[in-house]
Assembly symmetry: C2
Homo-oligomer: 369 residues x 2
DNA sequence: CTAAGGCTTGACATCGTTGTCATGAGACGA
DNA sequence: TCGTCTCATGACAACGATGTCAAGCCTTAG
């Protein structure tokens, strides 16, 4: 074990060295993963010299660089980033953790893509996980990220408090909250203007004469959903509409529950003339329900968050669009600014929303009855 | 430096031990990340005992477990997975690398989600990267994964040959190719039945009487795109249609280029009566062009790969749907089977496609002129 | 000719953890 | 009472890399 034998033919350099061997030739088809010591032995230099060459450090002769490079290529050597990190001064893994709603939700995908683009430019890899609005998953994902020593976190959260992150924040790990604001800790946050966006959507319907509106939204415990609901209700209040009779249907977490809720709503004796759907999957569920009821041209709809192909539907779907690319871009920018030494107070960035009129939100109210 | 001072008040256990200190008290608000040695010192036990408790190894007394657990909680200790891996026998990082077309493409998102679900069940984290059909990005992503010592790879590829992976495969790293078959190496592969799917789409149009068809597809160098094109052309040949006059427009890589190509096609003197769009973004581009030309009810369309909200459009979009969830699920299953010791020959899994008739593919041919 | 300085290079300790092994305490049967 | 066994525990080396430091060589200036 670990026995050293002289094997002058197995080196690239010109000096005689002992080569690494277990005394048994490894079969060609199951070579072990080479380490720096293997490269050093093959090149006939010390491991530190290999380290210097691999990391492009100065003060290595051209001849040595050539020998080491050749040996590394011959062995298909890949440095072990984590072993290096253990000793390296900055201790950076060049890895960040990203927790989004679900990697197959278009909003999340756009955020993810923007984060990835920023990370790629800095040679940083991205762990991506789906939250699925499950508090346990949030904690597990964060824990999994931290055990892998990510340099920073970009998190969409669902649990009641993120106070469990306080020790990590004290250690200086950058954490940026996206889409939803944290509770119990202060850290950089990037969110859409949910309150104002919902108000804009609601005003849009009110201005077209609608008085019987309905709200369909996500889980009530999500602060983002609460803000959208409040924006909706506040605006009704400003318009002097009694919110007592306004249907506010919450806890719709996927297309199917939203569709069923919308169908039930449309079958009431006194259905609304306009619907505000406060999340992209909810909007899609409502679209299905309207279509099934043949009411897509009769009942107005404004959705919060854009929906794929919304412009190709008939009528086009009017939405208050978020800007997930921008959210992701800014979140990544915050993480990297912190890693670059920015020690200022927590920054809260509000990304504006944009009303996109496509038809469904411009349907006038029908007469009652 | 590294000086040890006795600090009997800073421990949870009952034995006197030297605590870790630099001789200077760290400020409360910038505590360094605790290691096992810190936990051991606080608990008044040896590091190996902490290791045993953290890893749930047997033969530790209940009292010791309690002390160590308390100390770990007090310090908010998180074990460093990579440091452990360095020494651990199996050397697994419990991490895999996933390379998809783009994390914001719905097909990729669905694959990603399925892989994540399988990985989560095993406590494995997923690095996700976007290929963007860029050969350089493929190599960089793979290299970034390997430097981080992922246990396995699930790859969508674009470069001409994946022979560069041969040494890694010899080392036993599981590699599964998804969506596109590799060249130059043999390894597990999970793909849709592109040839047959395209043939089904084409037959569907032929059976409805179309003779003037057109093909709009992705980059010609992508083998998957080649297979779809061949499926289309072969089927025309079988039907006795001269393929010389059939428009075959390739290298459409995003919605906008596809839209422009389709618009140009529709403005020809002799436009097709039916279109086969061979990729999801191309289908969306074609849908825009048809809509802009007011021809969505006049020209038949069958797309390869499903499109979000395809069922809500008018007409609904007929597609040959792939099954990205299944592709992702099987790919993950292959990786984990290999990690569990499956040393059998490379497996090629073909996931069937499914024709979904929604209206656009059932439009009959218009009379010429 | 010699001292000083710069350039190359490698030995060694170290990062945070786990595998190996030895040690000591207590239980148990003869 | 005494070995023998099991259990609980910690010292130490090792994993693959990098930081530190000293040594050797070669220039160059005095």
């Amino acid at each position: 074990m670990g026995m050293c034998i002289v094997n002058p033919t197995s080196q690239i350099g010109d000096r005689k060295v002992t080569s690494l061997s277990d005394g048994v030739a490894a079969p060609e088809n199951a070579r072990a993963r080479p380490t720096m010591r293997h490269v050093a032995a093959l090149a006939g230099v010390g491991v530190k010299t290999v380290s210097r060459v691999i990391n492009g450090e100065p003060n290595v002769s051209a001849a040595t660089i050539a020998k080491v490079t050749a040996a590394a290529r011959t062995l298909d050597y890949q440095p072990d980033l984590h072993a290096g990190n253990l000793r390296r001064a900055d201790g950076r893994t060049r890895t960040i953790g990203l927790l989004v709603g679900s990697v197959d939700n278009p909003f999340s995908g756009a955020v993810h893509r923007a984060v990835e683009d920023a990370a790629l430019a800095r040679g940083v890899a991205v762990f991506a996980s789906s939250l699925d609005d499950d508090p346990a998953r949030e904690q597990e994902a964060v824990s999994a990220f931290l055990r892998r020593r990510v340099d920073g976190l970009i998190l969409t959260t669902i649990s009641e408090s993120q106070a469990y992150l306080a020790p990590e924040l004290r250690r200086g790990t950058p954490v940026v909250f996206v889409d939803r604001e944290p509770a119990g800790v202060a850290s950089d946050t990037v969110v859409s203007d949910n309150l104002e966006g919902a108000a804009v959507a609601t005003r849009h319907l009110l201005e077209r004469g609608h008085r019987r509106l309905a709200y369909l939204g996500d889980r009530a415990e999500i602060r983002t959903a609460q803000a959208r609901r409040r924006g909706f209700l506040d605006e009704l209040g400003l318009a002097g509409i009694a919110t007592r009779d306004i249907p506010v249907i919450e806890n719709l977490h996927d297309i199917e529950t939203a569709r069923l809720a919308a169908l039930a709503l449309l079958e009431r004796d006194d259905p609304p003339t306009a619907i505000f759907s406060a999340q992209n999957l909810v909007t899609i569920g409502v679209l299905h329900a309207l279509r099934e009821s043949g009411l897509q041209h009769a009942i107005a709809l404004v959705g919060f968050d854009d929906v794929p192909l919304a412009d190709l539907l008939e009528p086009g779907v009017t939405v208050v669009a978020q800007n997930p690319q921008e959210i992701g871009r800014i979140a990544a920018e915050r993480v990297f600014a912190r890693l670059d030494g920015d020690a200022g107070p927590a920054v809260r960035t509000v990304v504006p929303t944009r009303l996109i009129e496509r038809g469904s939100g411009e349907i006038p109210p029908r007469e009652r009855g």
